[in-house]
Symmetry: D2
Subunit: 427 residues, 4 copies
Amino acid sequence: MRIDKHLLEQHSEKHLPSHQKKFKALSSILSDEGHDVEAILDRVAAFQVAIPSWALGTGGTRFGRFAGGGEPRSLEEKIEDVGLLHTINQSSGAISLHIPWDVPQDYKAIRQLAASFELKFDAVNSNTFQDQPDQEQSYKSGSLSHTNKSVRDQAIAHNVEVIRHGVELGSKALTVWLSDGTDFPGQQNFRRMFERTLDSLRQVYAELPDDWQVLIEYKPYEPHFYSTVIADWGSSLLFCQKLGKKALGLVDLGHHLPNTNIEQIVSRFLMEGKLGGFHFNDSKYGDDDLTVGSIKPYQLFLIFNELIEGMTSPEVKNPELSWMIDASHNIKDPLEDLLQSVEAIKIAYTQALLIDRKALEKAQEENDATQAQEIIQNAFRTDVRPLLAQARLQASAALNPVSFFREMKIREELIRQRGAKAFATGL
Amino acid sequence: MRIDKHLLEQHSEKHLPSHQKKFKALSSILSDEGHDVEAILDRVAAFQVAIPSWALGTGGTRFGRFAGGGEPRSLEEKIEDVGLLHTINQSSGAISLHIPWDVPQDYKAIRQLAASFELKFDAVNSNTFQDQPDQEQSYKSGSLSHTNKSVRDQAIAHNVEVIRHGVELGSKALTVWLSDGTDFPGQQNFRRMFERTLDSLRQVYAELPDDWQVLIEYKPYEPHFYSTVIADWGSSLLFCQKLGKKALGLVDLGHHLPNTNIEQIVSRFLMEGKLGGFHFNDSKYGDDDLTVGSIKPYQLFLIFNELIEGMTSPEVKNPELSWMIDASHNIKDPLEDLLQSVEAIKIAYTQALLIDRKALEKAQEENDATQAQEIIQNAFRTDVRPLLAQARLQASAALNPVSFFREMKIREELIRQRGAKAFATGL
Amino acid sequence: MRIDKHLLEQHSEKHLPSHQKKFKALSSILSDEGHDVEAILDRVAAFQVAIPSWALGTGGTRFGRFAGGGEPRSLEEKIEDVGLLHTINQSSGAISLHIPWDVPQDYKAIRQLAASFELKFDAVNSNTFQDQPDQEQSYKSGSLSHTNKSVRDQAIAHNVEVIRHGVELGSKALTVWLSDGTDFPGQQNFRRMFERTLDSLRQVYAELPDDWQVLIEYKPYEPHFYSTVIADWGSSLLFCQKLGKKALGLVDLGHHLPNTNIEQIVSRFLMEGKLGGFHFNDSKYGDDDLTVGSIKPYQLFLIFNELIEGMTSPEVKNPELSWMIDASHNIKDPLEDLLQSVEAIKIAYTQALLIDRKALEKAQEENDATQAQEIIQNAFRTDVRPLLAQARLQASAALNPVSFFREMKIREELIRQRGAKAFATGL
Amino acid sequence: MRIDKHLLEQHSEKHLPSHQKKFKALSSILSDEGHDVEAILDRVAAFQVAIPSWALGTGGTRFGRFAGGGEPRSLEEKIEDVGLLHTINQSSGAISLHIPWDVPQDYKAIRQLAASFELKFDAVNSNTFQDQPDQEQSYKSGSLSHTNKSVRDQAIAHNVEVIRHGVELGSKALTVWLSDGTDFPGQQNFRRMFERTLDSLRQVYAELPDDWQVLIEYKPYEPHFYSTVIADWGSSLLFCQKLGKKALGLVDLGHHLPNTNIEQIVSRFLMEGKLGGFHFNDSKYGDDDLTVGSIKPYQLFLIFNELIEGMTSPEVKNPELSWMIDASHNIKDPLEDLLQSVEAIKIAYTQALLIDRKALEKAQEENDATQAQEIIQNAFRTDVRPLLAQARLQASAALNPVSFFREMKIREELIRQRGAKAFATGL
């Protein structure tokens, strides 16, 4: 499904007077405070968030899945859905594929299709947490960390194959989320699991093209409930250190123990030049995979505070980051959820851009916690939505993405095209 | 599959000398300390734990399920598996059914089959957390708490049907685990969800036979990740208070926030005469549904300390309790896991029986925390396994259940009979 | 120290142009969206938060306390400090006393002093968590729950004395934060602790004047680390139910286990007509007692969403609430911290006032989680600070309280008057 | 106070028959299972746990402290108290000093006193989390991480002075628990805090004698409640890597976020050859500093499982470890608490010695989680107390330390000697 540019213009026109009033007011206030509104708009417009191919369908839990309808039935339709999102918000210009859910058959056709939507291919993702039909070895007791070399070899070969697909599509990174772990004390030797995993990852690393990275994700639990091999940022960093400079850590916001100060972890990774990317989502309890910004918008802002500080500080030598959403849409329309998530990410990013860094540095130097809070909360309290809307307006996207999606009855049209029982591959 | 008594005898005979040495030593030590070993053995022998029909197959997570083999393919085979367990340990003399996974077709035949294994029917469980094929209304947005009366009516009717099945089989309780909840702030009005649920439960309650109970389970999250209607013991108690004396709370060990003092909750329910039953399992992070006693055996013991104190104190007026395992066997053989779980429960129970309650009361009265700890840890530190083994020996069960299961190659036999790809219904 | 009104005017005048621009823009936008800005301003102006007498000095931890200077040395100076805050923000029109830290000697003089600052006396607080010099019985092993009747009697008498002080000053409520609990499993019998506490509270309750309330606070741990008698909202509610209609629950935001959905607890208390009051603060780990809104501003907003919904719904019969800050100012200037806290509370309150409740109810009725999120986040994203500033302007308070405090060099003046080593009583 | 050996003998004699019966039974059972009981007894006897000088008095919380009596009033009396413990259990042969609470005046006399009790001096501890009277710079806003070089220099100088004291007494390690952190988002720049701390630690490191180590402790929060510089094992490891081979991590059991798998962290440190020592205690919520083994005895056992595996595996190159208790005795007699703690540590150690490592390795290799659990729980379930008692008996210590302490009325004697209001320095 392709959106007629004309429809976007009609939509924006309708909401224009209200928008202009708000934007004008905000931009005048920000200018008074010394901000360069044009420069901010440029940065907001340039900020793109990749969409994972598995987030386009309804997600579920171990207790069940309540599918919606009109879900993409093929890689092509997934690309179309991301293209749709990008057309609407001009902020989702990349797709991240998951193998074996999205094995491309005709690379050229897939590349052309993506290009027709102005989409790039972000990191490719391997999957050794599930058994595929006709798979020789089972991952029930692990994959890259398995005690049995045959299983490890199969998992290594799979990762290498994923790299190969990625190379064909123009990706530049492999994301490894290794679910390997244990459910019971004593089940495995922690050190040997680490060492077998390291050995496996070294073999995968050896197959990375020169301009590629491998992103090492960490997670404390689920699907295993006693330990995981790459449980925390410390373990992720250890693997990165031992693998080499192409290995970087990946932070998924839902992969932390209760009360973790994630923003400090972001700072630690950046300090070490080892932050590779982000999986955005939100959560209250565990890896809840909720809409970004729906539970802890202030934490999201604080993370962007670190990211912007780190990426702009000359003291920090860190490669470019890979930004991606990784959520599960159990009860919302997946596309609406993604539009809300991208919006939340860009709100936090924009608020963090507004922080008066010189004043903040001064307050920090003087140990003035009251003033430091005033400064960063002043940025957070600012209603930056008119800036995002203006950036979309200038990029010919929808002034209000969710409204546009609903007014155009896009889900209804997708159901008409694909059926009410079209289910996407994924969790 | 039925176990020949002879095999049990052979097995026990083999391990007898080692057992007798241990039992003799322990029983002499306990007698010296004033314990009535025979009386303890009687209580140990009498303690039975119900097995849920859905725990006989391999469990999984939202990321996948790695099935084993030889799983029960029908209600009949599930009863046979529980019968097998009971034959081996003489401690699992009841089965708890889940509707619609276990709809009995021929009540009489089912009752007879169960009786042939000396099994009773424990609480029956309803399921409104999944949609069944051809179900008219979807539970995607809730069931007993739904905004739409038609959905609520369907969920009420289902619960009433579950009661009807239970009556036919001789159950005396309905367990309601209501997964209804929300994933996002603002999604629903908390109070109205509660009130609609209460109204629905009242209609279910009205259908309970006189000698029945309804057990109200609570859980803070999963499958919903922002709120649940019956989130904690306080909410469960409120429903019980409003419904009437046949409504009682049910505690699942995995359904608590981090660091919750579960044993105190047990005491509170007992104090109010409102404890109905238990779902045993173990967990490190959330509702991990691991083997009972595999992670926090001391907590399990402390819970039994409260249970025994409450059930024996004349100040407490609480009905008999319903004991059940509710675990998910993702990587272990389900039957072995259940044998380990029953053993862990009975170890904790037996240790709690050994607590010198008079001395403990004195230490409490004198605010002597050091002595109180000495007393309860003395019971916990005692290796009571010979008592359990002796009780099994006297009941003609296996001296060592897990060893017996393995030595007899029972799983291999089940796979031979049912196939390597026989999967049980369940999660 | 009394602030000359003239200084407030001067300050406001200086910031007026910038404020007016912002207020005009916001109020026009809100009017366009159908809001009655004048009505909102009235509600904002009327909203008052009580200041606890113990929050006027520097707080500490068990590891130490780093005092500031110029802290109030007497009850009179504490009242002056709250008067100062109220003069600056016209939103802190009440003080909450803590006995024995603030025993009034001359009631009439104290009342007159408070009146001269237009301050009321909020709930009075008892203290049985510390031993006072020359106290007969020690609270080391508990107070209202103690095994020894003499200790309980002493604690009851203390609470009655606190009521007496409160009556003289015009308070209408007694807040009981009972720290009683245990540090080790087995140390006490949970049920008997509850029952002794209930018996003690009944005696205190009997002494409440007709128009008084007793507010029952709950807390899961600290200063005891295994159990507390009133650990959670369920226990608090049980006490309230058993005591009678003058007993109500009190929610302190820091008194919950990790990941607790506090807003739902608020809704439950309101549903039962049993919410008595609030202790505002913020926290990341435990009872951190940080500046309100400094860590989880969205949670604060969601709580106010429940409060406004509950207090305005005809279905809910709940008495008026008591709002209070309860924080510990370990590294910030206590008065600045309180100004920031009051501001954060009023921001959340005002944002919650902006929620389009009709639209929200419709979205809830239709199970439209996406739209519900749009509605409540639209309110949260709105920068309402100009409304608060305008309300202050109209009340002759400072346009920007923290700036005013700093520009006027108030702390320096207090140090000059009271000394650099003047320490307030408290924690 | 010195214990007459004769009294120990009398005590042991009284309990001897009961002990011998238990020991004989256990040792016969263990021998049957292939254990070398004599070798185990030797290891148990050799295992010594250091006592911190600050744990000899009553601890408290920010809400208060309920002192006992007879607490040591000087460094000499502290050494006497540890000597007393060591005489009673022959397992506490070292003391760990805290500067400035325990500044030795006459090194030689102190060394002689300690030697008279057969005590060694374990790691010395610095304190930059409190201000001392007449201290030039305040640590209110940090010490080694402070923005102000003068403050950092003072903190560095203090650490160097602590090393100097340690050298005089024969210590071989400096423990740095750095409380530096922040309470509010934005208060400091995380990276710069880290770098300033690293720079400070390098200066301290440069002053370490050749045969010394510096132990870097980590803690996520308290006394600061938003971030700490050394928040987790990952940060501790980073500091150790950057400092050099004499820098090692120190694990305090209470310094972790909820649900942390501490035993895996122990394994990670050992794998990297970077584990320096342990602070034993127990906790349910945070850094509760309860008696070791009073809350999570199984976790303690699992940690010892890792320690023994790591310290005996040829693959692991890790220096000798420093074992210490770090608890706070708020309601128990401190000396009784320490006796219970040492006992709990040695129970866990002994149980871990009993693990059949060959069988466990085989189960792990075969991914047999059921069997692995059987093996380690078999060790945990074994009641090893008779082994500890026997080791004490052979070392002329008390058969039952707590009973001996009570029967001898040691606390009463200490109160008689030192007074009922003798308070030890510490928290």
